[in-house]
């Protein structure tokens, strides 16, 4: 059985080490926070916060306290706030150990596309380009194929890039792949997924 969203998030959480400062994207990456267990992980929200807490209880929402998805959140005893220039200074400066984010396409050379589909409504890249260019490790979590069954793990991205050669590891419903010299290397297969199934679902070169 391929992994579901929660299993993918749980697998991504295994990438995190005690003491890491981490930025999580929207969607499945957000779920990663539920699976960090006893590890001391500090979440960064790029609108200006380290130490992001859970959503507030009803009635405790604060208009001055939101995450990068504009959702109301809470603070923790370790929380620190700062301005956007400082926030992206720590991102660009490599202080954030890892970013876990979703993608539309990933290529075997580590190219990532996740911000725009030509001809469709373009909302903007937000902080994604800064994150993938700056953080220590870029981990993509996404479904291996799109809704029509086409591979999202490609020889070359067809969509405009968010970053060139930036992805380190890809976690999909089928397993885990690393970007290495010459293509992708299978690190792990989801329970019951065969090597052949992984290769069939992957357009990119597997080495």
């Amino acid at each position: 059985m391929p992994w579901d969203r929660n299993q993918m998030a749980a697998r991504a959480a295994e990438e995190l080490e005690d003491g890491m400062y981490v930025n999580l994207g929207i969607g499945i990456p957000t779920l990663v926070a539920n699976y960090v267990g006893d590890k001391e992980i500090t979440l960064q929200s790029e609108n200006g916060m380290l130490g992001m807490g859970p959503f507030p209880l009803e009635g405790e929402e604060d208009a001055d306290l939101i995450n990068a998805g504009k959702q109301t959140i809470t603070e923790l005893p370790k929380t620190a706030y700062f301005d956007s220039a400082t926030s992206f200074g720590m991102i660009r400066g490599g202080k954030i150990a890892a970013a876990i984010l979703g993608a539309m396409e990933v290529a075997e050379n580590g190219d990532l596309a996740n911000w725009m589909i030509p001809g469709k409504l373009v909302k903007g890249m937000g902080g994604a380009m800064d994150l993938v260019a700056g953080v220590g490790k870029v981990i993509v979590v996404m479904d291996h194929q799109n809704k029509s069954g086409a591979s999202k793990v490609l020889k070359e991205c067809t969509l405009p890039l968010t970053g060139a050669g930036v992805v380190d590891r890809i976690i999909t419903n089928l397993g885990v792949l690393d970007v290495v010299e010459g293509g992708l290397r299978i690190v792990e297969l989801a329970d019951g997924v065969t090597d052949e199934q992984m290769r069939d679902a992957t357009e990119a070169t597997i080495v």
Binding site: S45, E46, N47, G48, M49, P54, F55, P56, L57, E58, E60, E61, D62, A63, D64, L65, I66, N67, G69, K70, Q71, T72, I73, E75, Y81, F82, D83, S84, A85, S87, F88, G89, I91, R92, D111, L121, V122, K123, G124, M125, G126, G127, A128, M129, D130, A133, G134, P160, L161, T162, G163, A164, G165
Partner: protein, 231 residues
């Protein structure tokens, strides 16, 4: 020199002209200069270029200045929350310059710090890099981004003293300090103006040197995505 003004309109008096560039603070609807935006609508200043991370929502924040067609160009990183914005953009009425969020923040900070340009890895190999100078440092490629020098900054803080020393609250700080820095003139709105000496000098987030005019007022502080957890 008196920095405190009686109203947002008074505080903007003499500073506005058609075709000007304005840097605005805020992230989404969090920490936006609501009162100054309303005063700009009232003033009717046209052909504005606005550097702001987002463009408000329909009917609130910068969305109000879009409705009145006062904005000619936006410099932003994310504009997805605004149907009127999209309508004007797709029909060619509104110009849009996408900036990666951190690049936009740094362009403001740089402009306010007398730095006309800086090199960054952000956007290398993407459409953002097209037409920009590329330069290698220690084997890595970077692109040149320019500092933003705005005619006017409109920003919002939580509290300020009469001299403009101010503190922000939680994530409402966001783009406000860099936006405040990069304008020739900075007008700030706060929830409360307090006497000089009542803010801890060691805990000032933005020194008053960056703040030229100051107003106090009631803020709606609308929440864009109210999200709660089960009790």
């Amino acid at each position: 020199m008196q920095k405190v003004f009686g109203s947002a309109s008074d505080a903007l008096d003499g500073l506005l002209f058609d075709g000007m560039t304005i840097a605005a603070g805020g992230f989404g609807l969090c920490g936006i200069p609501e009162l100054l935006i309303d005063a700009l609508v009232e003033a009717g200043t046209k052909d504005l270029t606005v550097a702001s991370n987002n463009a408000g929502v329909d009917g609130f924040g910068l969305g109000k200045l879009l409705e009145t067609r006062q904005i000619r160009k936006m410099m932003s990183s994310y504009v997805g929350e605004n149907a009127e914005f999209m309508r004007q953009y797709l029909s060619g009425e509104l110009e849009l310059e996408f900036n990666p969020q951190g690049t936009l923040a740094e362009r403001m900070r740089a402009g306010g710090s007398g730095i006309p340009g800086f090199y960054t890895k952000t956007g290398v190999g993407t459409v953002i890099a097209e037409g920009k100078e590329h330069k290698d440092f220690d084997g890595q490629t970077y692109i040149l981004e320019r500092g933003i020098f705005a005619d006017l900054s409109i920003v919002k803080a939580w509290k300020a003293d009469e001299t403009g020393n101010c503190v922000f609250r939680k994530t409402a700080r966001n783009f406000n300090p860099p936006a405040a820095m990069c304008g020739k003139t900075c007008v700030m709105e706060v929830e409360e103006i307090v006497p000089a000496g009542s803010l801890d000098p060691d805990a000032i987030h933005l020194p008053g040197i960056y703040v030229h005019r100051l107003i106090q007022g009631e803020h709606e502080k609308r929440i864009e995505q109210r999200t709660v957890r089960a009790a």
